[in-house]
Structures are given as structure tokens and as C-alpha cells.
Symmetry: C2
Subunit: 348 residues, 2 copies
């Protein structure tokens, strides 16, 4: 079958899918939006346009929908689409919480339609470099992985600044950053979740979070996002007993850092630094730390839609399973609870 | 009175005090060590040398001692010194735990001698820059302060690698890094302590830790140390709703970073980065983030011993109070418990 996609919600991400899904052979069958401005845009761009989701869902030419409406509408739209017999792709977060997701999944199962979520950041090159280092043991036993995303852009936009619409950065990006960690180390169980979540610039919604996952493979994952840390720290830092890896940014600048044998048994000499005497934190001799290039990875986000096409033609399993989406939402719920109580949430 | 110091333990730090305490007018009255090599060194350096602490403590010319023995001996030596009527300065950590400290303090009170701990890193310029920014509100409402200390030196030395002697990095440096945070924000109560503590390269003792203190002033302090993170991250990062401060290293390179008004309401445009579409994490326009120099501070570690001299002459209060030392040890105990149980420890 050809995937004939209906786009429900023609804002920024709706337009993005309209432009990019065809790269996998997906046909944009129709779009809808309740906003007259966006309706007009859709018409001008040559798409078949409906003024409501209900009307789009009655179009027999649409066999699959992508939900690019604000987060709080995902559940309602998903269930309506399933009941109309359409396969459902949601933008992330798939749902506002685990309970909503379970209702959505039940509706899709009942209707016999496919259900997945656009966790597109599983194809991010920066993350895949760290995953490759983990999979191939390039750093030895890894003890810490830091995933950081900092911005100087400060304020969020549109419905993202309202709590009732599912705004805030945990929903917008936390769902990606947690998913990336669990995707990177799928065998690892989560021992505990601890979180610090703040509203720095926004009244209603979080714009800073740190979520710490202690995993049973010896790795502790530190996920941090801020819309207002102005000197951006590296996108990724992973450290093991054989080296440290840094990926600075989306552009994947960075290195692996290693020490020579010379450093393993330094003479126990106290050095006077500008902040007093220290032995352990004295400067490393020149040449003592050497760099290697990062491992190379190939990635293509279009594989998300290619996989959807394959699944709908019985040729592949879904790359984004609802059980995985559910696990991420469970971590998000644990993070909210941790931040509220200041306690760590024991997990799995 | 003149401070006539007996140095108990003539290893690296014993020699360091011998060299540096005189800068505050302190007289080195005697030193002792049980190691014949160090005894010989002391003689060659012209110090009055005793082969045991007991003999040094019988020297009436010594009125004050500094304990530069391995950590597990601090309690025993402190109590012996107090009973001999000597004022006591301990190297840090003052004690192995709160209970030991309480016994030491009781012995000093009973003997009517002064008791303090050499928390010399309260005079570190890098920390004082952050403290000044906090005190003067240079960053607005601060939401995160990161204190990081990374080294490529890997292995520790001598007794620091043995648990029974009080080895490991929480004892060696955690005691400083926690003390600095509490010294920086003395009015703030600690709501919870969460910690991740690991042995990366060492069999018995910790060489990596992350300790998170949620404070009731809105700041969360993240303290991290590793002897084997090879691309050193900034010594300090503090971020508030009016800017971000970075102090890169002991040498105090760094800046304050601020945004202009232009960034406060960016147009809600999705940008295609090398890792897919994003609005919030799109690059900031050139010139959008501006830098200012760090605030300047003057500091002089010699004030530690000058204060000891003043205290012993009734002219000042101690700058390092045992109640503060006790609070730091309490946080260390909470951190150990947190790391062991994976739970956060509610505090104060």
C-alpha cells in the first residue's frame, strides 16, 4: 500500500512533515487546521485542505495521519483517527502521560491500526556517535554520560508556554533526551530517577531540567536542558575508564581524549596552583592527554518514514515501539514526582 | 601570644604548612613523624624533630598543633593534643564522620583549647568570584551552580587509595567543594542531598562523585569531581535569569554572558540544524550573546593563619567554625547514604 498521509495541524511541524515525509515516498493526501490563516497557507501550498480533523478523517483517500497539534490534543485526535480506521503517527510527546498513552494504544489495537510516535531524534548524528562509542566499548567501562542542551533563546513560543496545552521543555525536548538515553542502552534497567525542574523565565512551564538516571550497567545518565544557559556546554560528554568522549554540538565537533601510560602512576608531588596546593588536580604534563577523532556514523532521518511505509506493508517491525514510548513517559512522570518531592524515585 | 606550631605528620602537607604558616607570623616550633625518612628530612631542613606525636606534645614550647596525618588519625591526635593543652588545627577532613568530630570538639572544649580545620579553599579566587556574583546579584536569580573538578591524573597516591586510612576523593576534595557551596550561600537551607559516587580506577576508594544539593534559595548546586574526565569542563558555571557566569579553571579565565533584549522574543521560526528541525535550540544570531569580564576579587590564603593568630589573641572569631565543619560532614554522610541507597536524603 502507498502511505497517504493526512496532516492534522498545519503549524510549524505540520508544514515540516508536509515537506519531508514525501522523501520516503509518502504522499501528502490532505491537511487540516482550525486556524483560517493556516488553512489559507495550505491552500496556497497546493494541499487538499479541510477546516477540521473530523472532515479530514472522513476522507477515504487518507490511510494514515500524523498528529501535529498541541500535545494536549494528541489523545483525542489519536482515538478519533483510530476509530476512523487510520493508522496514527503522533508528534512527540505521544501523550501527556502514561494513562493517556494506554488509552490511545487500546483504541489503536481495537481498530487494528498501526500506532507510533515521531521520535525523530533517534537519528541524530551526535547521539549515534555516543551510542557507537558505547556499543563498541571505545571508552572502556563508561561511568557517566551527560546529555546537555543549552540555549540563549530564552523564551518559548505559542502554546508551548501554557501548561494546559502540554507546554514546557520536558514535554518538548525531555521526551527526546530521555528516549535517546534509553535507545542508546536498551538493555540497561533504570535503578532510580532524580530530577530538578525549574521555571526560570516562564510563569507556567518548565524551561530548565536536570534528570539523572542511575542505570544498572554502571552508567549514570545526566540529562540537562536550559533555555537560558548562555555559554553552551557540550551536547554530550561520556567518560569511561579508558577515555572521555565529547561531542560539542549538533554539528558533531569533538574528540575522544585518552591518556598515555605515563599518567597512570604520576609521582606523588604536590603542585602549587593559582588556587593553592594540589597533587591530584595539578596540570597534566604537555602531551599527557591525546585526542582521537570521533567515530563516524551514517544516519538518515528519512528512515523514520521509510520504516512506517515498511511496517504498513508488512515488511518490518516498527522502529519506535509504543512500549518504548511508554517507558519514556514513565521516566517523565517519575521526574515530575522527584522534582516535586525532592526525593529520588526508585524504578524498574 | 605567639603561635608556636607543632606539625604532626611531615608528609607533603606537613612540609607545606612548615613553609607557609610563617607567612602569618606563625613560628614552626617542632615537627614529628614516625617515618625515619621524613624525620631525616625534617632534621636536614633545620626543624626541631620528634619521632612521635607523644613526644612533640610534651614540648612546652609548642602551644598549637596542625594535624597533617592521614585522616583516620585526626581524632586520636586531636584528643591527645587537646589533653596536652595544645590548640588544634586539623587538616581537612577534620574527622572521618560527625561522631568523631563531636568527640574531638568535646575534648577541645573540656581542655579549653581552640579547635579549627584548615578549609583553605575558602580563599580560592575561582570560588570567591562566583560568591561575589551571588552576593551582588550579578546573574539575577541563580537557578544552578555547577562546581566541577576534573583531572587526567587518574590514580591517587599513598594512603589516599586505602579506605581504612580515610582515602578517596570525597574525603580529600568533597570536603572542600561542599564547604565552598555552604560558605558561598550560608543562609540557604539544604532541602535534599542526592549523590552518585563511584570507583572508576580505584579498588577501594571513590574517585568520581556527583553531589546535588537542592537549596531553599532556589539554587541547585551540582558538585562533580573525577580523577579521570580528560576534557576538563569549567571549574564553575552559574546561571541565573539575568546571565551565565563561567570560571574555566583555577587561573580564573572566564566571563559573564548575557543576552540583549533582542533575544527575549525571537520570532517563532523553526530552523533546520544538522540534527533536524528546532526552534528553541536554533543558533543565536551573531552578537546575540555578549560577554563581560568576571568580577574581580582579592584573596589571600595567609588570612587563614592570620585569623588563627587573632583568635588565639582574643582579637577575632574563628573564620572556620566547627559548626560549619560539622554541617559539611553531615552532607558527606548524606551523600554516602544517598549513593548507597539510590535515594535522596531530605535535609535540614
Amino acid at each position: 500500500m502507498n502511505v497517504k498521509l493526512g496532516i492534522i495541524g498545519f503549524g510549524g511541524m505540520g508544514k515540516w512533515h508536509a515537506q519531508n515525509a514525501p522523501r520516503a515516498g509518502v504522499e501528502i493526501a490532505a491537511v487540516c487546521d482550525i486556524d483560517p490563516v493556516k488553512q489559507q497557507e495550505a491552500v496556497e501550498m497546493g494541499y487538499k485542505m479541510y477546516p477540521s480533523a473530523e472532515e479530514l478523517l472522513r476522507d477515504d483517500n487518507v490511510n494514515t495521519v500524523i498528529l501535529t497539534v498541541p500535545n494536549y490534543l494528541h489523545k483525542e485526535m489519536c482515538i478519533k483517527a483510530a476509530e476512523a480506521g487510520k493508522h496514527v503517527i503522533t508528534e512527540k510527546p505521544a501523550a501527556m502521560n502514561v494513562q493517556e498513552l494506554d488509552e490511545m494504544e487500546a483504541a489503536c489495537k481495537k481498530a487494528g491500526v498501526f500506532f507510533t510516535s515521531h521520535q525523530n531524534r533517534r537519528w541524530d548524528k551526535d547521539m549515534l556517535i555516543v551510542k557507537k562509542a558505547y556499543d563498541e566499548g571505545l571508552l572502556g567501562n563508561i561511568f557517566t554520560i551527560e546529555s546537555k542542551l543549552h540555549s540563549g533563546n530564552g523564551y518559548m513560543h505559542e502554546w508551548h508556554i501554557y501548561k494546559k496545552y502540554g507546554g514546557g521543555m520536558i514535554y518538548d525536548w525531555g521526551v527526546h533526551l530521555i528516549d535517546q538515553i534509553l535507545f542508546m542502552m536498551p538493555q540497561a534497567k533504570i535503578k532510580s530517577v532524580y530530577a530538578d525542574i525549574k521555571n526560570v523565565l516562564h510563569e507556567e512551564v518548565d524551561d530548565y531540567f536536570k534528570i539523572i538516571l542511575k542505570l544498572d550497567n554502571g552508567v549514570t545518565a545526566h540529562i540537562e536542558l536550559s533555555t537560558y544557559i548562555l555559554e553552551y556546554q557540550p551536547r554530550w560528554l561520556a567518560a569511561g575508564d579508558k577515555g572521555t568522549l565529547v561531542v560539542k554540538n549538533f554539528g558533531c565537533e569533538g574528540n575522544i581524549y585518552r591518556t598515555g601510560k605515563m599518567l597512570e602512576k604520576l609521582p606523588p608531588q604536590i603542585t602549587e596552583t593559582e588556587a593553592g596546593p594540589t597533587r591530584q588536580f595539578a596540570p597534566v604534563p604537555p602531551g599527557g592527554i591525546v585526542t582521537e577523532p570521533l567515530p563516524t556514523v551514517e544516519t538518515d532521518w528519512v528512515n523514520f518514514y521509510r520504516n512506517v511505509v515498511d511496517v504498513l506493508n508488512g515488511k518490518a517491525e516498527s522502529l519506535i515501539k509504543i512500549s518504548e514510548v511508554r517507558r519514556v513517559l514513565s521516566v517523565m512522570e517519575a521526574a515530575w514526582k522527584s522534582a516535586e518531592t525532592n526525593e529520588a524515585i526508585l524504578f524498574e
